[in-house]
Point group: C2
Chain length 472, copies 2
């Protein structure tokens, strides 16, 4: 039960939102207090469920007046504990009831949506209007666009369409003092002052609450065709990337690396998924082309670029999907890697990015460093090679206990993240910082950069009430 001194605050909230949308019962609050990965559980005075922007503003205004911290939450699918409480005397403000698609403007190629709209629903609405909303990631069935924006989510189409940041034209935001910034512009060009939009994007709710956004849409491609290529090394995969970019240009919408170890886990734990080549290769690359003409044209481009790659000795074997089902099968191999890892047992995960040109160096160097400290450790390396974003996951040596190996997490993180840093990379490519990487991040940012981040936090949230103990 909330402490009695919160009574007047809760009365304010009940008056603003309706009593049924102010959850104070422990069982009602529970689903909002533990993160997706079940690493973090916090407590909250209440979970507030406003139904529109004005109610969000009223709730934040009440928090501001009573010095109560605010934890914004979308679909609660974040991977870094950014959307659940980390401090005392806070409320969770769930945006899930803000779930309207406000406007679709096909001629402007934009859609205006509430923050609580589920990503998959947004994809579907775009499709109904003959448009593509390209953001796509594993949690799309339950994550919300507000959360995607607050974490600047990445996913599988970044190579062509960019991160969530690049997909947003305008925002509506409730500020830490409970005012509303009406920044829902649907403009491709606007040079009238500081870029506040991009400051809120990726801020993980520490500067204000995104309540709505204008997102970009794209013409729907007439066909998507997938191919798999077998290559000898990450370095060969990079050579193939350059060939694919040269021959496919902007048609190239996916370029995913999958190591032999990744494929071995998948075929072990999901034997119904068949390895597509007669011989086992060190690396597979999944390539997707999206085509505004049609399948035949996409296949012709694949034939050409694969021919160039074969002639250059870059590719050992290749298969272009003959059907939508076969494209689906190829993607299934990629998407079952995380699931196969769950079946195999725990491992130490890293969501890192380096310049694309340095991915092979990074993998070779870091593999070697880990073998020195942890002989026999098995690296499950896969991910968005076209973006320089590799999920570099470290499993224990064969036969060693997975839970016990997790005791090495800090030492493994240090080796991996130091290597990332020395390769000019990022220790959080697409998941954000949240609670998980807040401390770690300070090791790699300069004091100049941290001081600017703190100054901005202080300027926009002087009372420090927005999502405390996250990011900064």
């Amino acid at each position: 039960m909330p402490a009695p001194h919160h009574d007047s605050f809760l009365d304010l909230c009940r008056a603003a939102l309706g009593p049924q949308h102010v959850l104070t019962d422990a069982a009602d609050k529970a689903p909002f207090l533990t993160d997706w990965r079940k690493r973090y559980t916090g407590d909250a005075i209440a979970v507030l469920r406003p139904g529109n922007t004005e109610e969000v503003a009223a709730a934040v205004h009440a928090c501001h007046a009573h010095q109560i911290a605010v934890v914004p939450q979308g679909g609660n699918t974040g991977l870094c504990g950014g959307a659940t409480p980390a401090t005392m005397d806070s409320v969770v403000i769930s945006l899930q009831r803000l779930n309207r698609v406000r406007q679709v403007d096909p001629l402007n190629n934009t859609v205006t949506v509430d923050a609580g709209v589920v990503l998959q629903h947004l994809q579907d609405v775009a499709h109904e209007h003959g448009r593509l909303f390209p953001l796509s990631l594993a949690a799309e069935g339950s994550c919300t666009i507000g959360g995607n924006l607050s974490t600047n989510a990445g996913g599988t189409a970044v190579l062509r369409y960019g991160n969530t940041r690049e997909l947003c034209l305008g925002l509506e935001v409730v500020t830490p003092s409970g005012e509303i910034w009406h920044g829902l512009r649907g403009l491709r060009k606007d040079n009238t002052g500081y870029d506040l939009r991009d400051l809120f994007i990726g801020a993980e709710g520490t500067l204000g609450i995104i309540t709505a956004a204008v997102m970009k849409l794209f013409p729907l491609p007439r066909a998507s065709v997938t191919a798999l290529a077998a290559v000898a090394s990450p370095r060969a995969a990079l050579a193939l990337l350059a060939i694919a970019q040269s021959h496919a240009g902007a048609m190239l919408t996916g370029f995913e690396l999958m190591s032999a170890m990744s494929m071995q886990l998948v075929t072990t734990h999901f034997p119904q998924l068949r390895y597509p080549f007669a011989e086992v290769h060190p690396q597979l690359v999944l390539i997707e082309l999206s085509d505004s003409e049609g399948e035949d044209h996409a296949r012709a481009i694949f034939e050409k670029l694969m021919q160039v790659a074969f002639n250059a000795g870059v590719v050992a074997d290749a298969a272009v999907a003959e059907s939508v089902q076969q494209s689906r099968d190829f993607w299934n191999l990629r998407e079952h890697i995380p699931l196969a890892q769950v079946e195999e047992g725990k491992n130490i995960k890293h969501d890192i990015a380096v310049p694309v040109s340095r991915v092979a160096d990074f993998i070779e160097t870091t593999d070697a460093l880990l073998q020195v400290s942890f002989p026999g450790a098995r690296m499950v390396t896969f991910g968005h090679l076209g973006d320089g974003n590799v999920h570099y996951n470290v499993s224990p040596p064969a036969g060693e206990d997975h839970d016990a190996f997790l005791g090495n997490q800090d030492a493994v993180n240090r080796i991996v993240h130091d290597s990332v840093h020395s390769h000019g990379g990022s220790i959080s490519a697409e998941h954000g910082l949240g609670q998980l990487k807040r401390e770690e991040n300070r090791l790699y940012k300069s004091e100049v950069e941290l001081a600017m981040m703190r100054a901005i936090k202080q300027a926009l949230d002087p009372q420090g009430l927005m999502n405390p103990a996250k990011v900064i």
Copy 2:
């Protein structure tokens, strides 16, 4: 001559930069003190010409210690007076000696450049490495990439590649206190804190000085082919845009509107440029396709989309360029509009953007409003229709004195900008605010937004020394 109380400051600067790079003679300073359009002339204690980032930091540090304002300047080609002094007791810091291309990384599709590198040189360097740097605008022969970033420049390729903001991955910045932020990351994904990069981009030097940047490169298209289409109205041009986007996808790299009045001025003042159709049409559209396959493929796409447009009754006539020279001729028509306006006499210019879907509404409504107040006024309307960015220029009625008509500037601006605002638009699409639109901008921004901008300015530049009386 500078006042004697500046002696110790100037001695500091001379020691840091070398005396030859501290200009105090009036004749030496003059080229740096008047803006490109010759609307604004200021004065400065000195013009400082540092040769590298450390010298920029030393110069800013000296200014900070002596409370002297700093006006950063690139190629001095800005159109809003953002790069010349507007207040007393300031120095101009010219970035022109920071002109090294630091690194080209073709595999990462990036180039790292000093801020003073001229845009055309950057385009050339990219081309030598088989890559495209797509930013292109009229001043490219003398503007610098630092200025492009500080104003978030637009240009003719935004439809496909975005503004300068979208082309930048990382920055090096000298802060208002003279520290260096080493943010030169070449990463496609990096979610490790607030987006400082995009805060400096478009800030017109009011938050710090950009000294270097990592810019994106793209595969060089194998062919670019241009076509002209004659349409009945801006509304028909929008219908053609939707058809072109559907059939050409990301191959569509240019979509420029040119009104009959624009074409009349061009053919009057540059009779060597021929109007390409037998009959005069209300609007022409210039369409450019860039193709990773080749010219034949681009022409086939043009044939298909023009056929669809003809069948839909959207296009009255069309011509696809048969050669590189003919493509050049088509672009010449577009690029001679501003030059023809200079020949014709002064007019009242607007650099505005509205949502693409509202461009036709905006033009119709605003034309009608202006005719009420200024009967016979002639609108020279042209620009980047694909971005919703129209150069909406108002010329006097035929026979009326051009200089006298300029006396109506405030009244005309009010009508045009009010109409922009009511169409959800921007009063500065691609030129920025500088001195020219700083006051005007306050009329259209909410107090919530202005307060956030002021808070950020105060947080990062508490002494208000960076480019005062600009932007905010």
